[in-house]
């Protein structure tokens, strides 16, 4: 991780239920550290405990055992909250509010000085690609994508140092997805720490520095993207037919596992940067080199199916 720790989770257990309801263990000893300025992804199957963990990180839920610190303080400390932006998965606001009233409420709650509220609203409106006309409409007339955008807008108020996003691209069209991606890059560029919970693995892969695979209330695996994940990536290599055998030998020598199928070579297990030099060195012409599926997707299914994978 390297950077200064922004979020520290130590041995967090959380159980739901009680006297009347059946007890359900949601978190079973989560340990995590998220660095300052890091974009950290939470991935895992439904019911893995990701949203519960997010609730604990935000101070909405109290762990039964264990501690959580955000910038060395409790997550419900007002100093932390002043610097927190949160986009919930379930967009349940008071739908009778207009877009402007909603953002005004949250701008004031976020501590934006009264005189700067209109300016702050206009800023996040533009950054969320919401039409000015939409600000006058009640939230109940908004489409799912617009609700997601206005929720994103409120999360971006005051440029929070800690950004928690729960399924931020849910219900969004491709431009919306690109918008979220841009904001994540912006947040990272200004040094914000981002925790992203998403099922869109390709998006997670594009923006996250590290991901935690959560399953059964535990962190099964921490993955630094472009590190181990890259090594697990499978690639498709196309070379001229007569040179295929030479290419196989060169790639095997470079440390790749190679298999041949329909005149194409499938390689995995090495650094992709080594493919070009290995083939050129062997006098092979490289026609095409492309990834097979998303690397995180492969890791996700490997973890889900219980492979250790290193």
């Amino acid at each position: 991780m390297g950077a200064e720790t922004a979020i520290r989770v130590n041995g967090v257990h959380k159980t739901y239920g009680g006297l009347l309801a059946r007890r359900k263990k949601a978190l079973l000893g989560i340990d995590l550290e998220v660095g300052q300025g890091e974009v950290f992804g939470l991935i895992g199957p439904n019911g893995a405990g990701k949203t519960t963990l997010m609730g604990c990180l935000l101070g909405l839920l109290r762990p039964d055992i264990g501690t959580i610190e955000v910038a060395g303080r409790a997550p419900d400390d007002l100093w932390v909250r002043e610097r927190t932006g949160y986009l919930p998965e379930r967009l349940g606001f008071d739908r009778g509010l207009t877009g402007r009233q909603f953002l005004e409420l949250h701008a004031r709650l976020a501590g934006v000085p009264t005189r700067q509220v209109p300016e702050a609203i206009e800023d996040v409106r533009q950054r969320s690609d919401l039409a000015a006309e939409a600000m006058k409409r009640r939230l109940k007339s908004y489409s799912r994508g617009m609700l997601q955008r206005i929720a994103l807008a409120q999360a971006l108020l005051r440029e929070p140092a800690f950004l928690f996003l729960d399924e931020p691209t849910s219900g969004m069209d491709p431009t919306g997805v690109a918008l979220v991606r841009r904001h994540l890059h912006d947040a990272k560029a200004r040094g914000a720490t981002v925790v992203l919970n998403s099922h869109h693995l390709t998006e997670v892969e594009r923006v996250c520095d590290r991901v935690a695979f959560v399953r059964g209330g535990r962190v099964e695996r921490l993955e630094t993207l472009s590190g181990q994940a890259s090594a697990r990536q499978a690639w498709c290599v196309r070379v001229p037919g007569p040179q295929q055998e030479r290419a196989c030998v060169a790639l095997l020598a470079a440390g790749f596992a190679v298999s041949s199928n329909d005149g194409l070579l499938r390689i995995e297990g090495g650094a992709v940067e080594a493919v070009g030099p290995a083939l050129v060195g062997a006098g092979v012409t490289l026609i095409e080199l492309r990834p097979i599926g998303a690397q995180l997707e492969q890791l996700f299914f490997a973890e889900k199916n219980g492979e250790s994978g290193g």
């Binding site: 739901y16 949601a26 405990g49 949203t51 519960t52 997010m54 609730g55 935000l58 101070g59 909405l60 839920l61 109290r62 007002l78 909250r81 002043e82 927190t84 949160y86 919930p88 998965e89 379930r90 967009l91 349940g92 606001f93 008071d94 739908r95 009778g96 509010l97 009233q101 409420l105 949250h106 004031r108 709650l109 976020a110 501590g111 409120q154 928690f164």
Partner: protein, 233 residues
């Protein structure tokens, strides 16, 4: 807290439907006040206003998930509760004053001779204010643990069920049942009995205020113990 106060006023009074209901109902209540000239333990006009205008005072935020967003902002749970409750109390106060003004206007219009003594008018106003404060307190208490609009529904249900059982007690001539329902009714309505203006007045005030304080504090304690996440189901 000011923001929560403001948003409560906006949502519960300044939108067309709540505003029309409050004004219409207060005017109607003004007529009934002029006709009744009394301060019954359960003033149906005030009760109806409180239970309709403020149903789901906290529960709706919990149910629709808005509370999750609010509580991740720079606001404590106490500030949130205080904002909601104070705004509701203020609106009840305005409702009662408006209704009182209508009552006085109608009584004066009916003829100066029919205007009751000031002390009686004041007693009516205080009874309305007390009843609305108490009902709001109970609604607030229920709202801290019941989802959505169930707070209002449960309070109505208790009042109606108690009245039915009381009627049954009288029908079957069971004095113990009548006494029991009287006692329960007293707990549910917490009537402000200060009209004798003698030694019992102080005791009546203390009883009313302490009951209200206990109910509100119990709501606050319950709310503090609650954890909020839609993952919790």
């Amino acid at each position: 807290m000011a923001e929560i106060f403001r948003s409560t006023i906006l949502a519960r009074a300044l939108r067309p439907l709540p505003l029309a209901f409050a004004l219409g109902w207060a005017t109607f209540g003004g007529f009934t006040g002029a006709m009744l000239r009394s301060h019954p333990a359960l003033d149906p006009v005030t009760a109806m206003y409180v239970l309709v205008a403020f149903m789901g005072l906290i529960g709706l935020d919990v149910e629709n998930g808005g509370l999750h967003l609010i509580l991740t902002r720079r606001i404590t749970r106490n500030q949130y509760l205080a904002g909601r409750l104070l705004a509701a109390f203020c609106l009840c106060f305005v409702f009662c004053l408006f209704r009182f003004a209508v009552t006085c206007g109608i009584t004066a219009w009916a003829g100066p001779g029919r205007f009751p003594p000031t002390s009686e008018l004041l007693a009516v106003l205080i009874a309305w204010l007390g009843a609305s404060a108490w009902q709001l307190g109970v609604l607030f208490f229920c709202s801290t643990f019941l989802p959505g609009r169930l707070d209002s529904f449960v309070y109505w249900l208790l009042l109606v069920a108690n009245a039915l059982v009381a009627g049954l007690g009288e029908m079957l001539d069971k004095p113990w049942l009548t006494a029991l329902t009287d006692w329960i009714g007293d707990q549910l309505l917490n009537p402000l009995e200060i009209w004798a203006f003698d030694a019992t007045t102080g005791w009546g005030l203390v009883r009313f205020a302490s009951n209200l304080t206990v109910v509100v504090l119990a709501g606050v304690l319950i709310f503090h113990r609650r954890q909020f996440s839609y993952a919790a189901g």
